[in-house]
Subunit: 433 residues, 2 copies
């Protein structure tokens, strides 16, 4: 029997869910034409406080329920759209929806990063689809390219600016010479950073997204806890000055690389050449560079968050799910379900390093430092030495190294802190080129 | 009955078709796992001269036929992959394949730009898919985003560097101060330009690709002949010098804009701000910036041509078509089939202009020029005047205008050529910002 309509159940009524509801209503005709029958919003699971939101005022109050059981008991829901965010209770809701044979669309990066494999297994068992394009990169197509467009490729690397908050902060620090806390305050004033900014600033948000992208790209499960994660709060305006002097930009990159043996996944600040495309990505924008054996380098750029872009991805997923409902097909997409490849320990990665040290301003100090590095097979590619404080008789030394192993660098850093001439290791930042 | 295998018929054995055959063989296991059954190359339509190509040597000679009728009579072909290029005989082959109920994958921009609507209608009538991701932008996902990921958006604009040959030439002119013909020769030496470079250099190739993208994005048929088209051969190294001085890059852009009333489509050199992302796209790379009401700005970047990237897109399409064969579904994709919106005449577009004039070096000349422009409601935003030749007593004047209508500018240019003080209108270039 031909479907007369597709029923949608919406979970949440925050800014994203509210915008999704708005698009379903405002663009109902175009969406019906695309799908072949109307998409009808049948129920909205809300919290009591959601009912006072402006988006609630514009909708039929009959649609709302604060009771999850009542929501799931609603007749005629084919697709559940989850936009409440966070791990709990979202995981329970998604599980329940899939067990009930509903197709699921979610914008929830945390749930997908932590529970993607089990949810996808459940979806396959029940012949339905699990769609999560909006979980990474807002409206930028990222999940879909890995699932469809790039699937003939062996992906060797992903280099991604996937957290708009930190990219905004880094842009202000680089451009305006702001220090970290001023730039963070500015981001908070503009609504680009949460009152509690920890997940963004410490790279946790980026690590959820990288777990999803790497799992898809490498077809091998990467969990958030597999990812080395370091935030941007240690960066100072002096690092940006030196970076510019040396021809680099500083970005928080989410990096995933695949060799035949293992997978390397890490989120941390990096020096990247200032003429690279990623270096030009400013403000809250996101960009994801992918390297494949056939396609070479491809880059996707756009707004990585916000209600409008995110709704673009959610609605695209809803339309895809609706077409599956009509065809009676499950999702065509696959997660990386193979037994996971080994994750390379952070100690084994190799990069170049930027090193900034506060030292005693006296002869022979550089020689001592160079000896420690040399003892660990770390060779120096360039040195800048500046008088930092003539009263305190201290100088600042900036060292760029050739490629070295992380373990050796960590050991060298440990020894450097014990040199009496070294007052402080002010910072060290890995370099990608 | 479950499909045991999917049969592929390949038309052509040039560099792209050869690479597609190679991937089908080299990655057979991974593709079979993705699709659910093996993809089997059943027949290859070749030209006699193809048989001496290296890629032919590596393949079973039984696969080859030079006879199109024999090719189409081959049993067990589910998907026809066309990679012979050009309008004729490709259009006949594609028509025959669709009439015979075969799913079609093509990398042929010319056929799709000129005959996309009729081919898609045919595909829908016969319940099969027509896939053409490789027709635009090599391996960069571009067709698929418009068909799927961005479909909730009303697209307002496309700004695209979609011809690698011209972007390579412009990059060399900008970076190395080369003139057009030297840069073209260099491109030909490197195999980036054809011996007869007309289609690339005059923007024809870009106009085919823009016709496809605009038709998809606006869901309204745009034909190649609707597109105003101007190549890069008029550009001189002096234009690049002034562009840099004024803070711009020069790119060949394919531009499509949509208003409620009409569609604006044009391919020509433009000044774009040097700090824009498109200005940073160098060499043979392509980049496509899309503006949508929900997604905001998204940009796709990568290698726009070449056998490897193109095979990435072709194989992705083959896998999608294979999944449709298994599901017994036609393509889920749609072309813009609505009656076409009006195409805005070029005379009605509005942009800023860069104008370079060779004039007599005497007082009052600028006033005369400014008067002509003013008479046509064109106001000047900046002027650079340089002594071009002290012997001939000529000077060069560079004018940047505020936004003006093309018709007014063309009339003003006509009048300027009649001023005795104006020796030559050396160039005029539109500005996008």
């Amino acid at each position: 029997m031909k479907k007369q309509s597709i029923g949608i159940g919406l979970m949440g009524l925050g800014v994203i869910a509210g915008q999704v509801a708005k698009v379903l209503i405002d663009k109902a005709d175009a969406l019906a034409e695309e799908v072949g029958c109307p998409l009808i919003l049948r129920r909205v699971k809300v919290l009591p406080q959601d009912l006072s939101r402006p988006q609630a005022q514009a909708m039929d109050p009959q649609l709302f329920t604060t009771d999850a059981d009542e929501f799931f008991a609603t007749q005629g829901i084919d697709i559940v759209v989850e936009a409440i965010g966070g791990e709990i209770p979202a995981i329970d809701y998604l599980t329940k929806a899939l067990l009930g044979g509903k197709h699921v669309v979610t914008s929830n990066k945390e749930v997908i990063a932590k529970h993607g494999v089990e949810l996808l297994t459940l979806a396959q068992q029940h012949g339905v689809g699990l769609h999560y394009e909006a979980a990474v990169g807002g409206g930028i197509p990222l999940i879909s390219p890995f699932q469809h467009d790039l699937l003939a490729n062996k992906i060797s690397g992903i280099y991604a600016i996937i957290n708009g908050t930190t990219n905004f902060i880094l842009t202000r620090m680089a451009r305006d010479g702001m220090d970290f806390s001023s730039a963070l305050s500015r981001a908070q004033e503009l609504g680009y950073a949460e009152p509690n900014p920890r997940d963004d600033v410490e790279g946790i948000d980026a690590s959820y997204k990288l777990a999803i992208l790497a799992s898809l790209a490498f077809r091998s499960q990467v969990r958030p806890e597999d990812i080395y994660c370091e935030g941007i709060s240690r960066l100072s305006s002096r690092d940006f000055q030196y970076a510019q002097e040396l021809g680099f930009a500083i970005k928080l990159l989410a990096i995933a690389k695949q060799s035949d043996e293992s997978i390397e996944v890490r989120v941390h600040p990096v020096f990247i050449p200032e003429d690279s495309l990623l270096a030009k990505v400013e403000g809250v924008y996101n960009a994801i560079l992918v390297e494949g054996d056939l396609v070479g380098k491809v880059l996707f750029f756009g707004e990585g968050a916000g209600a409008l872009p995110t709704s673009s991805a959610v609605i695209a997923n809803v339309v895809a799910a609706a077409k599956d409902v009509i065809l009676g097909a499950g999702s065509r997409a696959r997660w990386g379900m193979q037994p996971g490849k080994d994750i390379k320990p952070m100690s084994e990665i190799r990069t170049r390093y930027y090193l900034r040290l506060n030292v005693a301003d006296r002869p022979g100090v550089l020689a001592q430092i160079a000896k420690v590095l040399g003892d660990h097979q770390i060779s120096i590619s360039s040195v800048i030495q500046k008088l930092a404080d003539s009263v305190a008789q201290t100088a600042e030394i900036v060292i760029m190294t050739h490629p070295a192993q992380e373990e050796a660098m960590q050991q060298a850093l440990g020894e450097l802190t014990h040199l009496t001439a070294v007052n402080e290791i002010s910072n060290f930042i890995r370099v990608e080129s």
